[in-house]
Amino acid sequence: MELAEPFEMTQPAVSRHLKVLESAGLIVRRVEGTKRPCRLAPDGIAVIDQWLAMLREALATNYDRLDEVLAAMQPEERKDMP
């Protein structure tokens, strides 16, 4: 409720945004009676960077290998042409 006050947005809409942030690991929420206090998750952003770096390295390695596969395919294709 308090978090929604400064925004021109309904409280349910703010709740949906918070749910996305929570599922992304960027905030942590707990239950205190009817309140759901939030705090930033200190490691959340660093972990995303780490994950993206791993993805980038894995893709780059595969695509460099794919370059070689494609280079080997092309002579065969030219042979098939009239």
């Binding site: 996305v20 599922s23 994950w51 791993m54 893709l59 595969n62 794919l66 370059d67 395919m73 092309q74």
Partner: protein, 154 residues
Amino acid sequence: MSKMTLKTEGDRHVVVTRRFAAPPEAVYRAHTEPKLIQKWLLGPDGWTMPVCVNEARPGGKIRYEWTDDKGGGFHLTGEYLELVPFSRIVHLERMHLPDPTPDNHVETRFEPDGTGTLMTMRMTLPDAETRAAMLGTGMEHGMEASYVRLETMI
């Protein structure tokens, strides 16, 4: 030369672009023909894909199994949703680590770029739990092979 870009799009997606010297038909075939896939979709040196099922038609199944030949390995399953030959592929996939990760929805486009191809792949950004599981797997395999093949989640 930086041929690849990778960026997040909103809260839920990752967009990767990569240019290839070959025409779209060749790049598309390399993504859908098992004999070609097995040559490059491998991750670190030393890993192989002994099982590669790829039924490139709507509703067709995907199953990739990787091994490091030292007892390490895991697999991915998926289904095709849409295919437009040589230009667009939409599919779902999940890694089994061994529990299945949430479905990753992937759209891959192949566009002519001069004499080559511009590939654009848009995939789901996995949730925090899945990222942690994948990083854990990466570190575990990383001891032996420098890092895990992440392509699999794509």
